[in-house]
């Protein structure tokens, strides 16, 4: 190592360490970037953006029972059962939240946006079977889409699934689908 290299090493080390220390000290004086979620978040700051792909929910008022979401899902997370016969009833609409990869293909496939992403992302249970969300509490008539009209708005996004997540699905471990209504009872066309 020559003489000049020796001193150049010393000079380079001292100068670069000095500059590096100035940078870190300057960051110490600045405000940190952290958002202290969940209790010290500044009001007015959204935690997730509007288009965030959170937990799925389905609004059975507008679901047409076309099964497009079930076909599109690459993993097979959605399970829809529509009874055949004279009157179609949606008897089962399950979404396995633990298997879902939140890709959004089912949301794109739905013609009326009945199935949609919410902004919820916090959901934990102690039994994985409780993470299956059963949306049908009693059999529902599917919505009949009017030709060339805007699909109806439906319930606010997130309201349906927030009850289920808050509930932790305690009663859903042993699940039996609700029975079909009698075929003779034709006057009952209430949607849930």
């Amino acid at each position: 190592m020559s003489f000049s290299e020796y001193f150049e090493n010393i000079k380079d080390s001292v100068v670069s360490i000095f500059e590096g220390m100035a940078v870190t000290f300057s960051w110490m004086l600045r405000r940190p970037h952290t958002i202290q979620y969940p209790d010290r978040v500044e009001s007015g700051r959204p935690i997730v953006q509007q288009k965030f792909r959170g937990i799925l929910e389905v609004d059975l008022n507008i679901c047409t029972g076309c099964l497009a979401c079930q076909r599109t899902c690459p993993i097979g997370v959605i399970m829809v059962e529509v009874s055949k016969g004279t009157e179609r009833y949606i008897t089962r609409f399950d979404i396995e939240t633990s298997k879902c990869m939140y890709c959004g293909l089912c949301v794109e496939a739905c013609p009326t946006s009945a199935i949609r992403h919410t902004g919820e992302f916090a959901f934990s249970t102690n039994d994985i079977r409780k993470m299956v969300l059963h949306f049908v509490k009693e059999p529902v008539r599917p919505h009949k889409p009017v030709k060339d009209a805007e699909p109806p708005a439906g319930l606010p996004v997130g309201s349906i699934v927030r009850e289920m997540i808050g509930n932790r699905g305690e009663e859903y471990v042993q699940y039996t689908p609700p029975p079909l209504p009698d075929a003779t009872n034709k006057t009952n066309k209430e949607s849930s």
Binding site: M1, M21, R30, Q36
Partner: protein, 401 residues
């Protein structure tokens, strides 16, 4: 210690044949004080370091446990205390168990000579500096034991690297401290502090250019002795998964960490005692300080503040710099630090002789070096200001302006 014991015996009205008993009791008291001070310092430094590290990395450190997260170190300590003590099967049973205690003892014993205040010092040995360098060799033995007895090739690597590093860097530590011993004329730490002046330009760091450079050489070598970044290859997190203390868990692991954080204070304490004027207050003479107990207490606080500033710098360096490789470490020690410190001793001798014969030169050189120090500080603040001003996003300054 002897005068203190005589004073205590007089106030109780006993004869001086019991002085030995009083001295032993005083030793115990001082040992307890050193242990408490060291442990508290180690714990609080762990919290402080994590907060400072967080702020430098643009995040907040631990701030939930207690006010601003102050009891985090207590929570961590208690958790480690109650952890299961895992000892791998094929380890060397005796060595594995006593290694942490050796390391801890080696660092704790240096607290004996640190002069906390004018009359609070464990034992003002007249070979104080040599004692410090000698007793830290226990740490080397402890780390080597830990590395070997853990029955893993990675820990053996860590232990051997650490041993090589620590015994090599004891040389520049000793040599750079001798640079100050020459003008002081004594190896005892209290007397070195007494022989400095109160005002900053009378400190030994500005005494002659050799001592100025020796401060930085001592600082660097002491960092390497304490296994701190940029010299923390033996406990490198990303390469050896915590090196020689991989197989330790629970309280034994904490002992190693305790020793490391206590060592920070020792580094800072010795550097302030030798180079930065210790407990001297600017403008107050030594005799005046010895009389009044309030001034002694103020000296204690001043010493603490100066040592804490240096501890801050050590923490700051850890979170800025990458680490050196083992052969680069050794090259730096033997090719750069040792020759330069030997040269510095010669320069210091020359300057001391010059000051004896022509005192005016001494004053001029001291003032010039003090100005140099001030200029470096001002330039540093300018660079920090430049960094803050040049970053285009000003939202990070919201609570400052």
């Amino acid at each position: 210690m002897l005068e203190l014991s005589d004073k205590i015996l007089e106030s109780f009205g006993l004869s001086s044949q019991y002085s030995l008993v009083v001295i032993i009791i005083l030793f115990f008291v001082y040992g307890l004080f050193a242990l408490t001070f060291g442990s508290l310092f180690a714990g609080i430094t762990s919290w402080y370091e994590r907060r400072i590290a967080g702020r430098m990395q643009s995040r907040i450190g631990p701030n939930r446990v207690g006010y601003q997260g102050f009891w985090q170190w207590l929570a961590d300590g208690l958790k480690c205390w109650f952890k299961e003590d895992i000892i791998p099967k094929d380890t060397d049973s005796v060595l594995f168990r006593i290694a942490p205690y050796l390391v801890f003892t080696g660092v704790l014993c240096t607290f004996v000579v640190i002069p906390f205040a004018p009359s609070v010092v464990g034992s003002d040995m007249n070979v104080g500096l040599v004692y410090i360098i000698a007793i830290t060799a226990l740490v080397v033995a402890g780390i080597l034991m830990a590395g070997w007895a853990s029955d893993s090739k990675w820990t053996l690597f860590g232990g051997i690297r650490s041993t090589a590093q620590m015994i090599s860097y004891e040389i520049p530590v000793a040599l750079s401290l001798i640079v100050v011993v020459i003008p002081a004329g004594t190896l005892s730490l209290q007397k070195i502090i007494i022989s400095q002046g109160g005002a900053p330009y009378n400190w030994y760091i500005f005494h002659n250019p050799a001592a100025f450079v020796a401060f930085f050489i001592y600082f660097t070598s002491a960092l390497a002795e304490g296994n701190r970044t940029p010299f923390d290859l033996p406990e490198a997190e990303s390469e050896l998964v915590a090196g020689y203390n991989t197989e330790y868990s629970g309280m034994r692991f904490l002992f190693f960490l305790f020793a490391e954080w206590m060592n920070l204070y020792v580094i800072g304490g010795i550097a302030t005692a030798v180079f930065l004027g210790g407990w001297r207050i600017p403008g107050i003479a030594y005799e005046v300080q010895m009389e009044s107990i309030w001034l002694q207490f103020a000296g204690f606080i001043v010493y603490l503040i100066k040592a804490l500033i240096l501890v801050n710098v050590i923490i700051w360096l850890r979170w800025t710099l990458p680490r050196l490789r083992i052969d680069q470490l050794m090259i730096m020690c033997y090719k750069y630090l040792v020759p330069i410190s030997i040269l510095l001793i010669i320069v210091s001798i020359i300057f001391t002789i010059l000051y004896e014969s022509v005192p005016v030169v001494g004053l001029v050189v001291r003032l010039l070096l003090f100005l140099l120090g001030v200029v470096i500080m001002i330039y540093f603040s300018y660079r920090v200001y430049y960094n803050i001003r040049n970053f285009p996003d000003k939202t990070y300054l919201k609570w400052m302006i």
